[in-house]
């Protein structure tokens, strides 16, 4: 699905979570400084399968269950990174950022800057995002716009197994703090509705997907749809359906919010003249506005129609299934937005 330059000779079908683990294991083999810390990452294997099998392979000295003390163990990751290790630290849900946000945005993200570039913080903060399974307002947010708004951390959001592995490899090897946000709906978990693209062929060897480079998931000529994560799959479903009606959708998976691949957005809209942004985060002050501004700041004349944004309309994610589906950017809303832009 992803446009990539190289394919390794040998591959296996993996879920997104197993592909993530594949990358972590490879990097742990390669670098003794890589450790994984977090809640339930040991024998449990991560609530969302982010560390399955790592404990058995690397032992409790490197795959470490922490107390429920996010400020302490995220800060611990920062200090360890400053002293030359490459820790990966898991915040179980992005929704929990409030209990440890100071460590994230005042420390992890600012130390390199405040030190005038003299101190590096090469750590990965992994966290689960997204709704769609009635987990309520405190366990279903994406919040990537919040992380991306605060300077000093890279923010990556894979949508599929191949990217999940390659972005994880890049994140671990990066000398900066990288927030790696995985949507529960793309992980291929055995206890959640299966997205058919949450399992795919993944090369066995290590490889990097560059952070900051969007993927053209589908080429098209009538309208550009820019999105990330689970919404990539919804948008792809819609694009395939609309093709039958003669609407040609070009679909961009940003893959990272920081850095943002503005060039790819501009190139695509230059070609299509129309833009729909799909974002499972809140509407206001977020990714969708940033992507739209990328066009208007550069050349509003590229647009033959107003930009349409499909996002969560500034309301906490409701619990009841019908209410939740009403606010999430799902197929019906994406299709309506694309049709309205094309008809404009």
């Amino acid at each position: 699905m992803t446009v990539t330059d190289t394919q390794a000779p040998s591959s296996h079908r993996l879920t997104t979570s197993k592909a993530m683990v594949d990358a972590i294991a490879y990097e742990m083999e390669r670098d003794q400084g890589v450790v994984y810390l977090g809640e339930d990452v040991g024998p449990y294997g991560g609530i969302f399968g982010s560390t399955g099998g790592l404990l058995e392979r690397f032992g409790p000295e490197r795959v470490i269950d922490t107390p429920i003390s996010e400020s302490a163990f995220i800060g611990l990751g920062i200090g360890a990174a400053v002293e030359g290790m490459r820790p990966i630290v898991e915040l179980m849900f992005a929704d929990f950022m409030g209990v440890c946000l100071d460590q994230i945005y005042n420390h992890m993200a600012k130390i390199h800057f405040e030190s005038g570039g003299n101190v590096r913080v090469p750590m990965v903060l992994t966290t689960a995002v997204g709704g769609g399974y009635s987990d309520g307002a405190q366990h279903s947010q994406c919040l990537w716009g919040t992380f991306a708004h605060l300077p000093g951390m890279k923010v990556v959001v894979p949508s599929n197994p191949y990217d999940a592995k390659g972005l994880m490899t890049s994140a671990i090897r990066d000398d900066n703090p990288v927030v790696y946000m995985f949507h529960k709906g793309v992980m291929g978990l055995p206890w959640m509705v299966k997205n058919p693209r949450a399992t795919a062929d993944v090369p066995d060897d290590a490889y990097e997907v560059p952070i900051g480079k969007a993927a053209v998931v589908r080429e098209g000529s009538d309208v550009t749809v820019v999105t990330v994560s689970l919404s990539v799959h919804h948008a792809l479903d819609v694009a395939e359906k609309l093709a039958d009606d003669g609407i040609s959708v070009e679909l961009l998976d940003l893959r990272s919010l920081v850095p943002l691949d503005r060039r790819a957005i501009l190139d695509s809209v230059t070609k299509t003249g129309r833009l729909v942004v799909v974002d499972e985060d809140y509407l206001s002050y977020g990714l969708s506005g940033e992507v739209a501004a990328t066009i208007t700041d550069t050349d509003p004349a590229l647009l033959q129609a107003p930009v349409r944004r499909v996002a969560v309309p500034d309301v906490p994610i409701p619990y009841a299934h019908a209410l939740e589906y009403a606010v999430l950017p799902r197929h019906d809303r994406i299709e309506a937005a694309i049709r309205s832009v094309v008809d404009a």
Binding site: S71, L76, G79, M85, Q103, S115, N118, N176
Partner: protein, 324 residues
Amino acid sequence: MEQSVRVELYRTMVLSRAFEDAILREYHADKGPGFDIGKGAVPGEMHLSSGQEPAAAGVCAHLTTDDAVTATHRPHHFAIAHGMDLRKMAAEIFGRETGFGRGRGGHMHLFDPDTHFSCSGIIAEGYPPALGQAFAFRRQGTDRVAVAVTGEGAANQGAFHESLNLAALWQLPVVFVVEDNDWGISVPRSASTAIPSNAERGAAYGMPGERVEDNAVEAVYAAAGRAVERARSGGGPSLIEVHTVRLLGHFEGDAQGYRPELEDVPGRDPIPTYERTLRADGALDDDAVEGIATEATERVEDAISFAKKSAVPDPSTALAYVFA
């Protein structure tokens, strides 16, 4: 206690005070007329540590620059006691390109990879990264330790308690230091903390806790010696509270109307107190005191001069160093 160690403690305190006196002078030099916090060669908030030198001198005397120190928004005495470069420190406080952070950090955000020194402008939040330094030191097979400092007000923050628990749970080589200067900005300790000594809190987390009264530098030295040795030898963390005094306001410009006993504060200055003790014991005489003072003044003036002569950062580089 060896006389040479006592003299070194005194020397460290005098150097710290000389630095702070110079910063005080430079800070206020161009703030008028009236008082504009953003004006002058040293702009912004300024939190001076005059009076709190015993905690820094007594603790850091047991450390080498391979050990880590994480200080607070009032960091200068620990930075100096830990052996940080005075020139780079002054330059950072003056916001110059030659400073520790090339002018990006300022006086609350000093980072020196050479001495593993850092500090945080957010109370208690320097504790968690110190855990990580201790964690790394142990993983790397060394006997290095991390020292983390807060004030007594910060001991009521969540990060303080999370950090003590985790350090004790994993037996990390950390020495937690609380400087109790009686005031969280304007709020007295009696209005913020339900127990008389934060050292008691060590028991809640399974680590020794020790409180040093009367800003006594030699008692700090002794307590820190036990704690550092315990950490180095794999015995895990300790908690030390030092009852100290903030001779100045919370920040420069603080009129301290909340502090009715202000007239008593200068009398609690630990440096002349310690000097009298050392003189009485024959460890110092007039010549030695003058020599130490002169050396401190010269080093500080050299640092201030270096800072003043250094270039201000080029505005065109304002976006640099967000990412490596």
